[in-house]
Assembly symmetry: C2
Homo-oligomer: 160 residues x 2
Amino acid sequence: MRFFEDIEVGQRREIGSFTFTAEGIKRFAAQFDPQRFHLDEEEGRKSLFGGLAASGWHVGSVCMKLLVADGYRQAREAVARGEEVAVWGPSPGFRELRWIRPVLAGDTITFASEVVALRNSSSRPAWGILEGRFTGTNQKGELVYSVLSTAFVPRRKNGG
Amino acid sequence: MRFFEDIEVGQRREIGSFTFTAEGIKRFAAQFDPQRFHLDEEEGRKSLFGGLAASGWHVGSVCMKLLVADGYRQAREAVARGEEVAVWGPSPGFRELRWIRPVLAGDTITFASEVVALRNSSSRPAWGILEGRFTGTNQKGELVYSVLSTAFVPRRKNGG
């Protein structure tokens, strides 16, 4: 987790990859999204998705999982370098949550973050506002998932 | 699941209620959002949330779970009345996904849907476009969750 001054528009970072197995897709769906095309291979093949497809909430949750792991990894690395770790504010929500293509059993999705915009916070001068996009891309290079996020990111206390 | 002609702006429907237990919050968080305030009561109390808080993706996934169950319930009821069941198109995504207040262990959230706008689809005349809002409200009547959704809803084939 970096400070606001260290971030530039256009910066991109790979967050991590995840392979959606048939078993994992069905387990999530049984608990949270028990539609037939998320639960059964044959029903998936007959559906618009063309195969056993992961619930969109599963895809979003996996992106979150990798994001948290990546944040902790960055924090550990910063600590190991003797640097101060920036603690970001919680995200109040997301915009434009899009499931662009189905995520099918066996697909490996690589998630990335990209800095879309940076602006000052008039109400909270110790913080900057970062607009970022998280994306998921499958093993064929096709964009499958995209969401926009706004986060409050702390500035360095010394202004530098 | 109703046909486009049967839907009016402003229609509201309770989808169902769900109580978030500490155990369920931790189980989801361990798998998908292992931040400390989602995993441990004491860390939650020390956080901005003021208690063990459910991951936002958990809240969204539970809303989806209740939505699917409600859809199947409506379809069964329509079949029991001898009516034709409308099969809605898949949702391509959501907008304005907002976690407005924390969902804490023990909270019971009642989810509802509300029809925000209806419009014709120029590209797909057999379908209408429904814009809806899903909300979650806690046992104190406080709005905790809101998301906007767009869905393709079939028209009756006979136009009536």
